[in-house]
Symmetry: C2
Subunit: 296 residues, 2 copies
């Protein structure tokens, strides 16, 4: 095992366009992982469903053929790569769990090539063009934290990013960096009116998670047009003050890097000890869907 270093850990996010086939996407991503590792990155995260097109634009049961076991063939390839390069890899995949049960899953591979485990996307969207409830059974593993060779990380996926509860639970479990493989974009009929506002919301709320939890947030998004969706790229990494350290363009492939001072998080949390003052006895309403006091 590689020891945790006192110096900042460089992380990298791989933002890319669909390459047209599973094999092409895997080859493309492996090349980017090698590039990021050469750039000094120690934890590298793919975008959501990295080895596939964003097939959720329509509801078509043939697409279940795209799923694979996790761990499985793709994680086996990536595990060898992780070991060879001495890096932690986070790979977002379409998981076949059994006939009729599929998940949107991220696998975590440690720098020694070992498979640490997986996260299954807990919050599943369903909107025109994002037909995810058709494909993905909501996750049943909760919000996990992995003590990797280079830091304690939480992994959440796309729609999870709108839920402060998910970020909080990962942070309470010890996460120092939250990774969000994502696939979010503009619909043609909305971009004009809402494009700027939607992107602002997306970045704002994730920066908020970083502040609330005194941790880093790293969101990696797809880019390029697929079907009716223009994925808006702009993958970014924010520090514990919600400041964006690096941000990718909206229209092209990119690798986003940041040096994360995990030791320094202790200082942030001492200066602003939010965790100290939580009023946990007053939070039970969070476990209710609404607090509207309906009578019947």
């Amino acid at each position: 095992m590689i020891e945790v270093s006192d110096s900042p850990i460089r992380i990298a996010l791989l933002q890319g366009c669909d390459q047209g086939s599973k094999e092409a996407n895997v080859a493309y991503t492996i090349a980017r992982i090698r590039e990021a590792a050469l750039g000094g990155a120690k934890i590298i995260c793919t975008q959501e469903l990295f080895n596939l097109s964003y097939f959720c634009t329509i509801q078509d049961s043939k697409n279940f053929d795209l799923a694979e076991p996790v761990p499985g063939p793709t994680t086996d390839r990536l595990a060898m790569l992780a070991k060879q390069l001495g890096v932690v890899l986070i790979a977002s995949l379409f998981e076949r769990r059994s006939s009729g049960v599929y998940h949107n899953t991220a696998a975590i591979l440690n720098a020694d090539g070992s498979y640490l485990g997986k996260y299954r996307k807990m919050h599943i969207p369903q909107d025109p063009g994002f037909e995810e409830k058709f494909y993905f059974t909501p996750g049943d593993l909760g919000y996990k934290v992995w003590d990797t060779s280079f830091g304690k990380i939480g992994v959440l996926i796309c729609w999870d990013q709108w839920y402060p509860e998910a970020a909080r639970l990962a942070a309470l479990g010890g996460a120092e960096i939250l990774f969000y493989p994502s696939a979010i974009g503009w619909l043609k009929n909305e971009k004009g009116d809402l494009g700027i506002a939607q992107h602002n919301a997306w970045e704002s709320i994730q920066c908020g998670h970083a502040v609330a939890n005194g941790c880093y947030v790293a969101a990696v998004n797809r880019v390029g047009v697929e079907s009716e969706i223009e994925f808006w790229g702009q993958s970014f990494i924010a520090n514990s003050y919600g400041q964006v350290m690096d941000r990718a363009p909206a229209d092209t492939d990119a690798i986003v890097y940041a040096d994360c001072d995990l030791i320094g998080l202790e200082e942030t949390r001492r200066d602003w000890p939010f965790f100290r003052d939580r009023r946990v006895a007053s939070y039970s309403g969070i476990t209710k869907l609404m607090l509207d006091q309906e009578k019947g």
Copy 2:
């Protein structure tokens, strides 16, 4: 009762310097309330502890003399003003509940002059220069929502702003606008290194609450130097995409206005139905202080 209008509701935040005495602060604030009402504001919110200096810079038991009952003399005066002007007022006060029990409390006065109730600050900070745990017993009323003449509002106070749980609970109870009377500023020895980062964190997390909960957020801060604290002003109102609609300067008194389209929030929440997909059965860990799985 004034009926809820279909048109946007104008709200106003009163950012000001300490005027040197309780009576001067009340007179100053009443003048600003009249000004804001003339400007069309229908819900008007004061900064934290508006009729006092920020006395929490030191621990001195004489300062308990500054507290008053809520409702009490100040809310009586403001209730008459609210009725006269036909506006909702939110007034942040130092509440004397009994000997030995004092709260940091906000009173809500409806546009007909009726006293709707109060919120007692739930999360209490304690830092050098912000000696609040010495003065304020943590609130015991939870996160309330008031159905005022001009919309459903939640009121939280300053340190509460760092807790997504507080915003979420108010929103689940129906709040369409979250008001945050605040008193936050830079310490001289920190401003150089952390000033920009701290302000960024403060605004980011509150914009995040607006996004997460599909509501408006209105944060009103003190300004000016008191003791060792330079209150950073920059009161602001953010829409449900986390976009700042108006922001006050960092160094002077100001009234911040925004027109809040409460009917339009329905559209935001239909476009991005975050509340629909909450996984409440997975959130019970929120009611734990940490999830560190300590064994002993």
